[in-house]
């Protein structure tokens, strides 16, 4: 079943989800909500879209675990980089 899905991942379904999320983002950005609620919602949708692209279009879902580890390795480093510099303004 997984092999069959790997041969024909649902590219169009993912495209539709990405499109709907993009439209939802644009609509949500202009709602009259507190700034923090808007920002968190938008970041959630953007990360969701980014994960879909990485998992299905970059085929990360079907790659060996070692490549997975390699692929996520810069994420903690990225957080450290941003947090380390943000503290300069505290």
């Amino acid at each position: 079943m997984e092999e069959q899905e790997q041969a024909h991942p649902r590219y169009i379904l993912i495209f539709v989800i990405l499109l709907v999320l993009t439209l939802a983002e644009v609509g949500y950005a202009f709602l009259d909500l507190p700034r923090i609620v808007l920002a968190l919602g938008l970041i959630f949708m953007a990360v969701w879209k980014a994960v879909l692209v990485a998992m299905y279009y970059m085929h990360l879902k079907y790659e060996p675990r070692r490549l997975w580890i390699l692929a996520v390795s810069p994420i903690p480093l990225a957080f450290i980089l941003v947090l380390a510099v943000i503290t300069e303004f505290r």
Binding site: L18, L19, T22, I43, M58, P64, P74, L77, L81
Partner: protein, 218 residues
């Protein structure tokens, strides 16, 4: 050595990685790109927290509808790219060429629309220069009050400009791959070039998804 033998050798996995070298190399390159764009996004966030008066609400200065269309185009190009890869996986040479051409055209359209956006914004005083900055907002008369500050313009052009450069380089690489595809350079057993440029292209799309949210919507 035959072309097929060379292709098989190129796809030989790195010991312990289970992924062929060319693909592993592209992934390592993309990880360095993650850190590059993190430095840009991180700098942007820090400057925005430190100088909130330099920014405006979404859609006041930047053209969100036009950029939403551009985002749609880039997402479409990811679909056409993955379709090109899927076609050559199935040995469909015609499909590979058609989907690659579609990806090139859509990618070039993205860069073109970004150029149009830049021209319109700079015409409205939204520039990256400290002295010349006088953003009046969309559709406002030029003598109106300035909105935001020069940090807004500088960070906007730095982030979207570097991304646009990546898209442009991607389009050039895709043209190279397309020419090779026209000459029958890819087969079911020799598709590493298509897969590797696909990874780069999807990464560029992924970065734009984040930039669109951070720069235009928040």
């Amino acid at each position: 050595m035959s072309q097929a033998a060379v292709a098989t050798m190129d796809r030989k996995p790195m010991p312990g990685m289970k992924v062929y070298n060319m693909k592993l190399g592209m992934w390592v390159f993309l990880l360095s790109e993650v850190m590059f764009f993190t430095s840009l996004i991180g700098s942007y966030l820090i400057m925005r927290f430190a100088h909130p008066d330099h920014w405006t609400d979404p859609g006041v200065v930047l053209n969100v509808p036009l950029t939403a269309v551009n985002t749609f185009l880039l997402i479409c190009s990811s679909v056409t790219m993955v379709k090109a890869f899927s076609a050559i996986q199935n040995g469909d040479q015609k499909g590979l060429k058609n989907w690659l051409l579609a990806t090139i055209l859509i990618g070039a359209s993205f860069v073109g629309i970004q150029g149009i956006e830049y021209a319109a914004l700079s015409g409205e005083g939204f520039v990256a220069a400290l002295d010349g900055y006088h953003a009046v907002g969309r559709g406002n008369p030029h003598e109106g009050p300035s909105l935001g500050g020069p940090l807004y313009g500088a960070t906007f052009y730095a982030m979207t400009g570097f991304h646009g450069a990546h898209v442009s380089i991607g389009v050039l690489c895709l043209i190279f791959v397309y020419i090779k595809a026209l000459r029958g350079g890819y087969t079911e057993d020799n598709l590493a070039g298509v897969e590797v440029i696909g990874l780069y292209w999807h990464f560029v799309d992924l970065v734009w998804i984040l930039l669109f949210t951070i720069v235009y919507l928040i």
